[in-house]
């Protein structure tokens, strides 16, 4: 499966929760598949989806799912020790690991070579790290939400993209709509 197929499959699972979605194609895909006020789309700033999600989870009680990529986590590896040492049980980091920089033309990442992000997360002190194959993600993600225990999920999948439009919504509108959903 490729990322857009995974997002299509998990959309019903995540739609009632707060979602911080990674820059580029992941946000564009989620926006097209199931736009929700509970989605925060990143339009810039590669690498910070996990940090924004953690800050949000620490600041309030609702479940937060950060959708990140292997390339983006590699860009902000310092996030993993911060997550490990500041446990928020309403926080799930979902790393969609397709071994490539999808939004920029599928150049290979080191995660697609020797580096195992699940091992990195564990070495950083993350306590619930689950590695899962794309087709098995749904139930694993649902269980992580139900358990209310901070979880890092590394979902292995194929690289590949679909054609779709950019998000034209104004960033302040995205943010305002999202904050209203947080408070609702």
């Amino acid at each position: 499966m490729i990322r857009s197929e995974i997002l299509r499959e998990i959309a019903p699972i995540i739609r009632d929760h707060l979602v911080v979605c990674n820059i580029g194609l992941p946000s564009q895909e989620l926006h097209m598949i199931d736009d929700q006020p509970t989605n925060f789309y990143m339009l810039g700033t590669m690498g910070l989806s996990s940090s924004i999600g953690l800050g949000l989870a620490l600041a309030q009680d609702k479940t937060v799912i950060s959708i990140d990529g292997d390339g983006s986590v590699l860009t902000n590896l310092g996030t993993l020790p911060t997550i490990a040492n500041n446990v928020a049980d309403n926080y799930i980091l979902l790393i969609i690991d397709n071994g490539s920089y999808g939004s920029t033309g599928d150049q290979p990442t080191y995660a697609g070579k020797k580096t195992k992000l699940e091992n990195v997360a564990e070495a950083c002190g993350c306590e619930n790290v689950i590695t899962v194959q794309d087709k098995d993600l749904g139930p694993v993600l649902q269980k992580a939400i139900d358990d209310r225990k901070m979880t890092v999920i590394v979902c292995k999948c194929d690289s590949g993209n679909i054609k779709l439009p950019v998000i034209t919504m104004d960033p302040v509108v995205i943010r305002h709509r999202f904050m209203q959903a947080v408070q609702a």
Partner: protein, 168 residues
């Protein structure tokens, strides 16, 4: 006057309850005070752009955030300031140790100091420079201003403000 306590009192008075820090010798006392206060959640960052991400999330979660860092961080965070904090119009007070200014003992620190105000000006970031201890009297107003206008705001604090480095 205990300057560290005074600064953190102003944070608490302005309802700032989520503070991320990257360490600096000049800021050590403030960071200790932030850590010690009950009303403040202190979360150290490994890098300043990561810290700004945490602050963005905390703000959207209903908390007033702040970042404490060195001026060298301006070199690290330009993209984050432009495409996250400013683009989504979020408030972020940045208490910055202004290394490389008067009474600085480490020559290399001057190399980023000479760019600091120019970069902040280029980014249209409101910038205040604390040089004398009494300048701290402006801090409360700066915090109120930051959350009024929803912008990142820089408070540069140099070695003279912190009382220098003793005999160094």
């Amino acid at each position: 006057m205990n300057i560290d306590k005074r600064i953190v009192d102003d944070l608490v008075a302005n309802d700032i309850s989520f503070v991320t820090t990257v360490p600096c010798k000049q800021l050590a006392g403030v960071i200790d005070e932030v850590e010690a206060r009950d009303g403040i959640f202190h979360i150290p960052s490994n890098k300043e752009d990561e810290g700004m991400g945490l602050c963005a999330g905390a703000f959207m979660g209903g908390k007033r955030p702040m970042i404490i860092m060195q001026n060298t961080a301006i070199g690290v965070t330009i993209n984050t300031l432009a495409t996250l904090t400013q683009y989504y119009r979020m408030p972020l007070p940045m208490l910055i140790s202004y290394r490389g200014e008067l009474r600085e003992p480490v020559a290399c620190q001057v190399e980023m100091a000479v760019h600091t105000k120019a970069l902040l000006a280029q980014m249209n970031i409101p910038t205040y420079h604390f040089h004398w201890q009494k300048d701290v009297e402006e801090f409360d107003n700066i915090l109120k201003y930051t959350f009024m206008c929803n912008k990142p705001v820089a408070i540069l604090t140099d070695a003279n403000f912190w009382g220098g480095y003793g005999d160094q």
